[in-house]
Amino acid sequence: MSDSAARGNTFEKTESEYELIKAVGAGDIVAFEMLIKRYRDPVLNFIFRYTGDRFGAEDIAQEVFLKVYLAASGFKPRGKVSTWIFKIAYNLSMNEVLRRSRFDRASASDELGPELQGPGDTGLKELAQEVMDSVGRLPEKQRAALLLRVDEDLSYAEIGNVLSTSIAGVESLLFRARENLRKMLIGKSKGMNSGKG
């Protein structure tokens, strides 16, 4: 017990992500727990912000780590482990979004609706919710590219790897995502300010 805890600490402090994934591939559960601990929050929040589904995000995130464990022995260190994990997270989230839009389009928009309505968006919470909704209205690849860039600080090459797109394609996706959000959020707040004045 204490031995495994000590090993856990070693992994946490010193192991590179390649050594960690190698140990996971060999079936080391302590290493797997360390990997989960390291990537749990960014993966969970990427899925949550991408799908907009608070309750489903944890299920998808757990599925991501299951897939990571099962595929770890075949990991090839051509890119970063984090990029590979985000690629799995993106693919599973995209499948979920597609499944939902196919079968559940009406109820999904009903779920988001009430939070968008209401007069005041002065509080930070309301503003954050409004941003969440605006991001949710972006085309799915623009949304994924933006979250990977702004939240996770991935390079264009890494985002291209996750989304299976060229670097020029990522540049274009990010520009259009920001342009769309600028129109939705900044334009709106400008309009409101001028209305007030």
Binding site: L44, R54, D151, Y156, E171, R178
Partner: protein, 126 residues
């Protein structure tokens, strides 16, 4: 017109993704173009807003549930189950009997009878 020419290069510039010459070109343009400077500032504001989006915390049992799911998956691997069952039937067909089997009390069932087969398979699955 000049502004349109830069388009996506403005955000790439902001992300530090432009190399040498192009970076310099955008930088020089920004010094002279108020519209592009404003646009860039608005893109920066957009990024700040995106960072404000709500976040969630994983439940306490997050990792435990994954590891439990892993052992469930291992138990239910269809190929393993099939091979174990196939092995049971093969032994059954060969008339093989284990000495000291926990199901010895059923060993007096006639070989190849349904009851014998049933308890052999159950024994293998335990």
């Amino acid at each position: 017109m000049e502004k349109d020419r830069f388009g996506s290069k403005l955000t790439a510039y902001r992300d530090g993704e432009l190399d040498g010459g192009l970076r310099e070109e955008v930088s020089a343009h920004l010094r002279n173009c108020t519209t592009c400077r404003e646009e860039l500032a608005e893109f920066e504001a957009v990024d700040s807003l995106v960072r404000m989006m709500p976040k969630i915390d994983a439940t306490e049992s997050f990792a435990l549930e994954i590891i439990a799911g892993l052992s469930r998956q291992k138990r239910n691997r269809p190929l393993e189950r099939f091979l174990r069952l196939a092995g049971s039937f093969f032994e059954l067909a060969a008339g093989h009997k284990d000495e000291g089997d926990a199901l010895d009390e059923f060993s007096d069932f006639p070989p190849l009878s349904m009851s014998y087969a049933y308890f052999r398979v159950i024994g293998q699955l335990r």
